[in-house]
Symmetry: C2
Amino acid sequence: MPRYTPLVESLPSTVPFVGPETQERARKADFKARLGANECVFGPSPRAAAAMASAALDVWQYADPENYDLKHVLAKHHGVAAENIVVGEGIDGLLGLLVRMLVAQDTPIVTSLGAYPTFNFHVSGFGGKLVTVPYRDDCEDPDAIIAAVHEHNSPLAYFANPDNPMGSFHGKDVISNLINNVPHGSLLCLDEAYCEFAPQEELLPLDVSNERVIRFRTFSKAYGMAGARVAYGIGHVDLIDAFNKVRNHFGVNRLAQAGALAALADQEWLRHVVESVRTSNARIAEIALENGLDPLETHTNFVTIDCLRDSDFAKRVVAELVAQGIFVRMPFVEPQNRCIRISSATDEDLELLAEILPKALSAAQSG
Amino acid sequence: MPRYTPLVESLPSTVPFVGPETQERARKADFKARLGANECVFGPSPRAAAAMASAALDVWQYADPENYDLKHVLAKHHGVAAENIVVGEGIDGLLGLLVRMLVAQDTPIVTSLGAYPTFNFHVSGFGGKLVTVPYRDDCEDPDAIIAAVHEHNSPLAYFANPDNPMGSFHGKDVISNLINNVPHGSLLCLDEAYCEFAPQEELLPLDVSNERVIRFRTFSKAYGMAGARVAYGIGHVDLIDAFNKVRNHFGVNRLAQAGALAALADQEWLRHVVESVRTSNARIAEIALENGLDPLETHTNFVTIDCLRDSDFAKRVVAELVAQGIFVRMPFVEPQNRCIRISSATDEDLELLAEILPKALSAAQSG
């Protein structure tokens, strides 16, 4: 057997998420609706798709390892310098690099109990010790995060805003206060994957002079390019430059870069998606209410629905929906796992949901 | 400042390779011919390009994190089980994962002096200590590699076959012997990125029962998909499974997977590329000879040319070619850096090379 490092030897062989395709193979049937991974069913900008298609014949060339064009266009879009932006293989890839930069054996790292599992996967993968604080009223709790960072002298804390899996959102005053309370020498990882769906006037403006925060954005959600694996971090120039020590320089797919450039240029499509998501979320909430469930307020492209009973019940509802051809997921831990989570979807998908949810609830009740 | 790990703090902010785009921006002009990165100028299979283009609208979906379809088709292609294959974001990405699995602070890792810099980048990035052995007669030296593994009790050695940057190749008897001499508990990383260009009857058959070797293959070279970032490792099921501990499960681009499937199905295009490369390499050798230089034998999609003088001269030749619009690279260390390296190219590209090389040599001679 190869001599793995003691750390790697100690890790389980695991996946943060089981993909819908794995479930499809297990049930020997495709899903009729794909509402479980907060993908953007409204698709990418047709201009982004066209850009990727027309770049296909150029795929024999490696992409520019500096991601120069994309970084510069993003910089202009956000009113920062290109040196404040690092482009990577999805937020998952960037989280892995960030964790690697800050986490050694037994380093305590702070996050919310039930927040993004892939962040936890990376922390464990580099030997860190997770310190988790509970959600408060179904929101991530800034005060508890900061208290834990102080208590454990942690170099890194994770905070998603808007949050997944609950869909909640903190406005700019809360986030500004959170960042200001991060101790010097610690870093807040602010995952803003869903920020395009939040009230834009309530998003905290960027301040790249602040060394205590890095903000992650992605083309996977509102831009509808989850399969392309392209996202970016915005932060202080020194922090951004440090990614060059560890990143896979030629790692970003060439077509993805072409697609991201075109997607960013098509802000009209983005508005169309955001509007479609809003309409869809209202319909999901309506379906939940019609079934006697409680849809939580959302600032994302999904609606988390309180099933108003215990987690066993919610798990049975998810299992029934999956069995009947609708891919959905649910929060992982108490007390959020009394809920199920439905991604924004097309009218057709939601008609199917309206038809199948009552049956799933009924089956779960008698289960 | 964030509290980086001592290891990351100690690393330089660096790139293993400067991209041609960086050079184009510096010289404020595009290259006329791109012969420096061993890309496949003959392009991907048109069927692969079409598959990527038609997958573009589906990019809103994450790719299957198991890469199930691609793994199974590759397994059939190679006569192994899907459990013997790990798909990743190019060989660069897979090398990073492999190194992470085996390299801790100060772990001695063996490679050839002047071999693939990205492997070295990863080893240093995880705190390993590189042990390098010289090339012998412009070939990687299996005996020296094995001796160094024994001497330093190293858990990992890198060996490229065919080799980059020299283009040389060891047949199956040599490689079989090399693998058999790897001590138990150590692993040979056999990088076969260029294997489709080598004499197929001289490639060592796969033996996935052997825990002492992992073999890497890629869609970046003969399959013409460098920008797609998709490659794979073939090895013992336990080793392959260990990648699940650390890999970015959703990391492989969805279009890349569609393209790779189509590329693999189009073996006729592969034969066309291999034949085109052979013709091109013969022409490159001819041009070298016409200019009084010595083209080395090659089993890759490039020709390494001995300029028959010192490294300063070869550097001037490269600089002149670059200045006149031809992107080329050269080996990094003595004595291989008496050479320049020209990637296989179109007739048009090589006409340009034939025109510019004499001028570059003349300028370098008077430089």
